[in-house]
């Protein structure tokens, strides 16, 4: 008889778990309250059926438990009962489906006054494109993509010149204005999902999918990729800031258009050389690095990486209060007055002869390789040369003690946790593959062989 008691207990436990669970939908931040209502209706109907049928089963097992002196009823079928049950079920199913279809009809019909925003996915980062003053997005295609044109803009389309291009994890939306989100992917399937918005949609390379919503609650919400997109799927994060119209416009106006990005001056190494003198004090005249001064090697690092890091030091994204060693870099970065200066220094560093830093870290190279190749090597490339398209810098030849320290910093939250760090959060996620210091040493000792 334990089965009867257990069935009843399971029903009670399920109901208790349901009503006491702290794990529940996030507070909604969009217009899709109809979805939540449909879920509520579904819960009530299915909950009633779940409890009813299981109680009936428990009662039947109790009442008709085996008894040698009794016989089952012989009843091959009961048409009347079967017709009743079928009809009731059909009505119940219709009651569940109908409200859902009304909400869906809203979802597929985008309001005419919705403004458009494009989200571009790639392994494993987000990018965003806003129409400029003309209110129209220019043509774009994966076949146009290059290091200078990561969005694949059509250079000849006049409508695209004023498009605002945002590389990095954050997007902004104005509150209470319906938005049609156009979804595009450069490589594989991704899925744009914000739990607080309730709606999500896959991004499919080769076509543009869409969804729409009206943000209704100010705040910053995580964007997660929810379609498996390869090894870095779980670190493909972004965030969407919902704010009032004025803040939104301020933010939008501070971003660069396609034409402005194209017009950006190329760095001048001659000018950069003079500025580099201050760097040379610690990093060495040839950017070879100096462990005693905690200065890593700079030669061999790509200009886009150097520029981003100097900016981070200038704005406090790196070198914050937890980062005792990084702090010393902040005043140095402040010496470079503007973007042009940073550009020039980065251009000069690119001209430095590439030397390999001394070897100081030892570990299990074979284990390091097993860790590196399927994980780190996907973005930083198998031979450690880095890949511009995923914003992953070169590792080969880098000061190994510095790599160890940075991996530890990502792990402890010293680096990558700042909300403005556009790609560091990915490293915070990926270093979870390195469970201890030994694993970090192993991986770095393997990177040491890639030179």
């Amino acid at each position: 008889m334990p089965i009867i008691i257990v069935l009843v207990l399971l029903i009670i436990a399920t109901l208790l778990f349901h009503f006491l669970s702290p794990w529940w939908f996030t507070p909604i931040a969009s217009n899709w309250t109809g979805i939540d209502l449909t879920i509520d209706i579904t819960f009530w109907v299915t909950g009633f059926v779940f409890v009813g049928i299981n109680l009936f089963v428990a009662y039947a097992i109790y009442k008709y438990r085996h008894n040698k002196n009794r016989r089952s009823k012989y009843e091959p079928e009961n048409k009347k009962l079967e017709i009743w049950l079928t009809s009731l079920t059909a009505i119940g199913v219709a009651a569940l489906l109908t409200p859902g279809l009304f909400v869906w009809a809203d979802f597929v019909n985008v309001p005419e006054d919705a403004h458009e925003v494009e989200v571009v996915g790639q392994q494993w980062q987000w990018g965003y494109r806003y129409p400029g003053a003309d209110g129209l997005l220019g043509a774009a295609d994966a076949s146009n993509i290059s290091a200078a044109n990561p969005f694949g803009m059509d250079p000849d389309d006049p409508y695209g010149q004023d498009d605002i291009l945002v590389s990095g994890k954050d997007m902004h939306l104005p509150i209470d204005r319906p938005v049609k989100v156009l979804l595009r992917s450069k490589d594989v399937l991704h899925d744009y999902a914000v739990a607080q918005f309730r709606v999500k949609m896959d991004m499919v390379p080769g076509s543009v999918s869409y969804m729409w919503l009206t943000p209704t609650l100010e705040g910053s919400y995580d964007i997660l990729c929810e379609e498996l997109c390869g090894i870095g799927h779980f670190v493909m994060r972004g965030s969407v800031v919902v704010e009032d119209e004025e803040s939104y416009n301020n933010w939008l106006n501070s971003q660069m258009t396609y034409a402005e990005l194209n017009a950006q001056a190329v760095g001048n190494p001659q000018v950069g050389q003079a500025l580099y003198a201050v760097c040379a004090a610690c990093h060495g005249a040839n950017g070879e690095g100096n462990e005693a001064l905690n200065a890593p090697r700079l030669s061999g690092l790509e200009p886009w990486y150097i520029k981003r890091q100097i900016n981070y030091y200038k704005t406090g994204v790196r070198g914050g209060e937890n980062d005792v060693i990084g702090m010393t870099m902040s005043p140095m970065a402040a010496v470079l007055a503007d973007d042009a200066a940073i550009n020039n220094v980065a251009a000069y560093i690119e001209t430095l002869p590439e030397s390999s830093a001394p070897l100081t870290v030892t570990g299990d190279v074979a284990n390091g390789r097993a860790l590196y190749e399927p994980t780190c090597g996907v973005c930083h490339s198998r031979d450690g040369q880095g890949i511009w398209a995923v914003n992953a810098p070169a590792l080969a030849g880098m000061s190994d003690w510095y790599l160890v320290r940075q991996l530890q910093n990502f792990k402890s939250g010293v680096r990558g946790a700042h909300p403005e760090d556009q790609f560091g959060y990915q490293m915070v996620g990926m270093v979870s593959a390195l469970k201890d210091d030994q694993a970090i040493n192993d991986v770095v000792s393997y990177i040491n062989t890639l030179r």
Binding site: V93, V204, E226, T375
Partner: protein
């Protein structure tokens, strides 16, 4: 030449003479069934082990240095594909289909025994190819069991070199094996039934297996062509599923293909696949419930038609797996409508199982416990299916742990409980020995309660919005730390359930060696397989004369009859009645 029905033909029975032809290159459906079953259970244990590794990472994300993200995605992928195709499909159809069809319809063997043998060996080959992918450079594919391109064949995914190719080849070989077996099952049911065995007297097990096999014969070709096309995309540079792509900074020079096309093909197979697993389970559990409740299955004809209708509808619901795939969203109306229609015949089946218990005389044997457990888990999994089938509700829940919890309840736990019910139910017939009842009950309680402890909470992670297929959740603005604690609890339950499956393996091995000799019909069942002259049945099944069938397979507790069961093969005049009860009348086919 006059036509002689297959049942009457003096069969050449390819009698085995040597050990090898009896147990290795065997053409006997019973031996092939056990070969299929053993290999399926073996790979199932491999997949179970992989799920334990996955759960270790999810429950304790900072602990196990031997699980990196690539490993994790490979475990997820191989676990899913093995469980769905190589365990469930193979065990229900290759295992139980092979064992039960000839015995339950009164045939001496399958109509194409040689093809049947080839079917098993191709299946074994597909398993070997699949297992080989663990040992190639780069390891097995980590593309997720759905193998969605372009990701599956690009370098950002683990196993995109050799692993994915071996997976696709293995699936193709599996489908060849399935087709050889499947044509056999269908032909045998249609052509080799014994005298008196009309279609509407078939046990529901046969009906479930029969319709599932037809589904498979229509559905697997869609998977077959998509495997071939993806292999071409991978190896010879075609662009069936590849649009213009820049992958990790490299322009691949592909163009014009459609990733969504693959999804349509995959789910055109994938949704019927759910019923390829579920329909045999429906059939088997019906027979177990009826026998141990000592009562006819309630509404037999309705049950048959429900199987047929569910099977037919399963071909027009596939895109409910793709509501947020980026396909034209207007499809949502059609597929939500067809999907929820399936709920009606499915609900009828549940009602009829429950009504079979009502006014029965229920023996709580081990197989019966598993069957009752199935009603509970299937009801739960079916109801959560209504959430996901309803396109609007799917929007927030798609790609979250709610989906994982739902399909594990409905097509993981539920069919597995039926498999156990069936294995315990037919073990005495297959082996001639009784299993150990105490161990069977321990196994039931651990599995039934343990799996519910895994999957009930998992639904709530989905409500919260925790995405599936994440190696580590890291920091988010909406997932509280308590979710991680819950994940650890789920892992503990999963490890417990996994370990407790060894009780079953031990029970089988122990009982084969030391189990009590079983009565030929220990459950006092009516269907033909329990009436064989030998126990376990020998080659040819029926001795000199084929059985003759006089009635349906559910003649339990007939008023006035002396026993509470009347086998299908007892002639009406031989039915022993109680004194004063008058003559036996078959009322089962009065409608």
């Amino acid at each position: 030449m006059t036509y002689i029905p297959i049942a009457d033909q003096a069969n050449e029975l390819h009698d085995p003479h040597t050990f090898i032809s009896k147990y290795v290159w065997s053409q006997d459906h019973k031996v092939i069934a056990i070969q299929y079953g053993s290999v399926a259970i073996f790979v199932g244990l491999v997949a179970l082990f992989l799920s334990a590794l996955m759960r270790l990472q999810l429950g304790y994300p900072d602990t196990f240095s031997f699980i990196d993200p690539a490993d994790y995605y490979q475990f997820v992928t191989m676990h899913g594909m093995i469980m769905v195709v190589y365990l469930l499909t193979a065990l229900f159809l290759g295992g139980f289909g092979n064992y039960l069809i000839p015995l339950q319809i009164g045939a001496r063997d399958m109509v194409f025994p040689y093809l049947n043998m080839l079917s098993f060996w191709f299946y074994l080959l597909s398993v070997i190819i699949l297992m080989a992918s663990f040992f190639v450079s780069g390891g097995p594919t980590g593309a997720g069991w759905t193998l969605y391109p372009p990701q599956a064949i690009l370098r950002g995914t683990p196993g995109a070199d050799m692993g994915i190719v071996l997976m696709l080849v293995s699936l193709a070989v599996f489908i060849v094996a399935f087709t050889m077996g499947g044509l056999n099952y269908v032909t045998t049911v249609l052509q080799a039934r014994t005298h008196g065995m009309t279609m509407m007297r078939l046990p529901l097990s046969v009906w479930g297996i029969f319709v599932a096999t037809i589904l498979g014969l229509f559905a697997f070709p869609a998977l077959f062509v998509s495997c071939i096309m993806m292999t071409f995309d991978k190896l010879i540079g075609t662009s069936f599923f590849m649009p213009a792509i820049v992958s990790l900074g490299e322009n691949l020079n592909t163009a014009g293909g459609s990733p969504v096309l693959f999804q349509h093909l995959f789910w055109f197979f994938g949704h019927p696949e759910v019923y390829i697993v579920a329909l045999p389970a429906f059939g088997l559990v019906s027979d177990v419930l009826s026998c141990h409740a000592r009562k006819n299955i309630f509404g037999y004809r309705m049950m048959v038609w429900a199987i047929v209708i569910i099977g037919a509808l399963s071909f027009i619901v596939w895109a409910h797996h793709m509501y947020v795939s980026g396909m034209n969203p207007y499809f949502g109306f059609f597929f939500a409508f067809t999907t929820l229609i399936i709920a009606v015949p499915t609900a009828i089946k549940v009602y009829n199982w429950v009504l079979t218990l009502w006014e029965g005389n229920i023996r709580l044997t081990v197989p019966m416990l598993f069957a009752i457990g199935f009603i509970f888990t299937f009801l739960h999994g079916g109801l959560t299916g209504i959430f996901l089938g309803n396109v609007t509700v799917d929007l927030p829940l798609s790609d979250t742990y709610f989906v994982v919890a739902h399909f594990h309840m409905v097509m993981g736990v539920s069919p597995v409980l039926v498999l156990y019910a069936a294995l315990y139910h037919w073990f005495p017939k297959m082996s001639g020995k009784m299993f150990n009842v105490t161990l069977g009950k321990i196994h039931f309680w651990a599995t039934f309660l343990g799996t519910y402890a895994i999957y009930l909470p998992m639904h709530y992670l989905g409500f919260l919005g925790v995405p599936r297929r994440y190696y580590a959740m890291g920091n988010t603005d909406f997932i509280p730390d308590s979710a991680q604690a819950l994940n650890a609890n789920i892992t503990q339950a999963a490890i417990f359930v996994g370990v407790m499956q060894l009780v079953f393996i031990f029970n089988v091995i122990w009982s084969l060696k030391y189990g009590k000799k079983s009565d030929p019909n220990p459950w006092e069942a009516t269907s033909l397989e329990w009436q064989t002259p030998d126990n376990p049945p020998v080659h040819g099944n029926w001795g000199e004369k084929l059985p003759v069938v006089y009635r349906w397979a559910y003649e339990y507790s007939v008023p006035g009859a002396k026993d509470d069961f009347i086998p299908q093969s007892i002639a009406p005049e031989d039915v022993v009645m109680e004194e004063g009860a008058g003559k036996y009348v078959d009322r089962s086919e009065e409608h």
